[in-house]
């Protein structure tokens, strides 16, 4: 059964370095293709590090592995992913008159595959 979350895509150091090292490289690809989940949510949903999940909203869906957010970085209910191809697949084209697609704070549904 899917669970509702708010997804925050954002910058990370590894993703930033990967831009210079090459976007086809393992560093960049690994960073943008992994979802961070709060440990409390992982426990609640019976998820383990490396499990594949499906994340979807009205704009699209992605499938990717998860890892636990470290250092209390995420409160329960929030997901994090580094900016990249997968986060773009959940962004709509409408900018609501701003020029800026809604790229953070997106409502999504998550389920274990």
């Amino acid at each position: 059964m899917s669970q509702s979350f708010i997804l925050i895509p954002g910058r990370t150091s590894k993703q930033g370095c990967g831009i210079s090292e090459g976007k086809d490289g393992d560093g960049y690809q690994g960073e943008i293709n992994t979802l961070q989940v709060a440990p409390e949510d992982m426990e609640r949903l019976g998820l383990a590090e490396g499990d594949q999940v499906r994340v979807r909203n009205e704009h699209g869906q992605i499938e990717l592995p998860i890892k636990a957010a470290k250092g209390g970085e995420l409160p329960p209910g929030l997901l994090f992913i580094a900016y990249g191809d997968l986060s773009c697949r959940l962004m709509g084209g409408d900018t609501h008159g701003s020029g800026m697609p809604t790229s953070k704070g997106m409502d999504v549904e998550l389920e274990k595959i």
């Binding site: 925050i8 150091s13 370095c17 990249g84 709509g92 701003s98 020029g99 953070k104 704070g105």
Partner: protein, 447 residues
């Protein structure tokens, strides 16, 4: 610049005060050790700067490809000029990792072809650009922050990962004229929906509810004016007790020189320009009590230069249409996420940016369906699908020029070694020349 030879006879070159153009900090105190076409060491650079300098050698392969096949630069210019002059709604996008001199050329091309010109600002601090026009900007340079700032706030920004030298070079650690004890003279406040890596640097960390920046900022605006608020409502809306907001406001009022650096946590989240407006208005309000300024933390190395150049040339910073022969500004219509997602653009010139890697899916699908030209030092998802792609020299590493730091201070580039590839300026200058010729022919044929 000094040169020497090592034991093997390879010429070593030291470039002093090189400028890092990876992020908007534009650190210009980097010392590079260069051997031939490789930078071996980048002293004082952060983790992002080191990755930038150490991974930009000379790209193998031709300087131009047409439909993925090697071509001469001249052939590429001809094909690119025809794509742009034959189009009904051509767009120009990117520019934020290119020097000001090349940006000027791109705006000229937009003028000649009657297209739109937009920069990565529109998907970065474009909403803040709108807010500046609505509220105004109480601002200062990073030098003033260093010398005077005793209340340093970060809102929706994670410089520990996006601008790693921000704390040490500009905002928290340095000892300044009126902050002789450096970090000890400053209070650092971080407001975010996540406990980011930057939070470790904070004296006060406030974790607000997601998508409640606007409400939190207006709470502070009310407290700045001494307006009584309902504690229950404030906590349920912002996730933070009113007493904690009041304590923060008391410290803000007691400071001598407050700074709020803000990031895309505000501009990319629901509310967008309204969030930035709220923060700028709070900053303005605080000046009734003490000196307070606000600065957007800018991402790309010369995104601030792009704002400046497009403003000089058109009167507006981004999202400008020149289709009627005079500039019109309308974010949400002439911005690239819109012209692509609404399937309006029928050709594009993409300079130093990668929309195929970071735009919404509908925009990417449309870009892939139209002919476009891409300029980039490296192969990217955008260059791979381009009708014409130019591999260009890397600004700051191979080329001279001017960039603007995030506080609008212009800084010169000091290149490390030459590239066999043309610069953005070279390609755009040649493209402008050919576009002018073709437009003159079109005009003559119709008159």
């Amino acid at each position: 610049m000094a040169t020497a030879s090592d034991n093997a006879g390879t010429e070593l070159k030291i470039v002093e005060d090189a400028t890092c153009t990876f992020c908007g900090c534009v650190c210009d105190d980097i010392e590079l050790k260069v051997e031939g076409h490789t930078i071996k060491e980048a002293k004082r650079a952060c983790v992002l700067g080191k990755a930038w300098f150490l991974n930009h050698d000379i790209e193998p392969g031709p300087s131009c490809r047409i439909d993925s096949q090697p071509a001469t630069v001249e052939e590429g210019i001809e094909r690119a000029a025809r794509i742009l002059t034959d189009a009904k709604y051509p767009i120009i996008y990117g520019l934020s990792d290119s020097p000001c001199e090349a940006q000027r050329k791109a705006v000229s091309i937009a003028d000649w072809i009657g297209g739109t010109v937009d920069t990565t600002t529109s998907v970065c601090h474009g909403p803040s650009g709108m807010a500046f026009q609505g509220v105004g900007e109480v601002t200062c340079t990073l030098g003033e922050v260093l010398n005077r700032g005793d209340m340093i706030m970060f809102w929706g920004s994670n410089p520990a990962e996006s601008h790693p030298r921000h704390f040490t070079k500009y905002s928290l650690m340095p000892k300044g004229l009126f902050t002789p004890n450096g970090r000890k003279d400053r209070t650092c406040v971080i407001v975010d929906v996540r406990k980011t890596k930057s939070a470790k640097a904070a004296d006060i960390f406030i974790q607000i509810k997601p998508r409640k920046d606007f409400e939190a900022l207006w709470t502070l605006r009310a407290l700045a004016r001494g307006i009584e608020l309902d504690p229950e409502l404030v906590e349920s809306e912002t996730g933070t007790p009113l007493a904690q907001w009041q304590e923060l406001m008391d410290k803000m009022k007691a400071s001598k020189f407050g700074v709020i650096f803000f990031g895309m946590g505000l501009t990319m989240t629901r509310g967008k320009h309204c969030n930035s407006e709220a923060l700028l208005a709070l900053t303005r309000d605080m000046n009734a009590h003490t000196r307070f300024v606000a600065k957007p933390n800018r991402g790309h190395g010369n995104v601030t230069g792009a704002d400046n150049v497009v403003s000089w040339r058109t009167g507006y910073p981004f999202g400008v249409s020149l289709t009627r022969g005079y500039p019109r500004f309308n974010p949400g219509e002439y911005t690239t996420a819109d012209t692509l997602s609404q399937r309006e653009a029928d050709a594009a010139l993409i300079v130093a940016s990668d929309p195929m890697a970071n735009f919404p899916q509908p925009a990417r699908e449309h870009l892939a369906s139209i002919p476009y030209i891409a300029l980039d030092p490296k192969e990217t998802p955008t260059t791979k699908s381009a009708a014409v792609s130019f591999t260009v020299a890397t600004y700051g590493i191979n080329t001279t020029g001017t960039v603007y730091r995030m506080d609008d201070v212009p800084i010169p580039l000091r290149p490390a070694f030459e590239s066999p590839h043309p610069s953005d300026y070279d390609v755009l200058s040649a493209l402008e020349k050919r576009v002018k010729e073709l437009k003159a022919q079109q005009f003559a044929a119709h008159n």
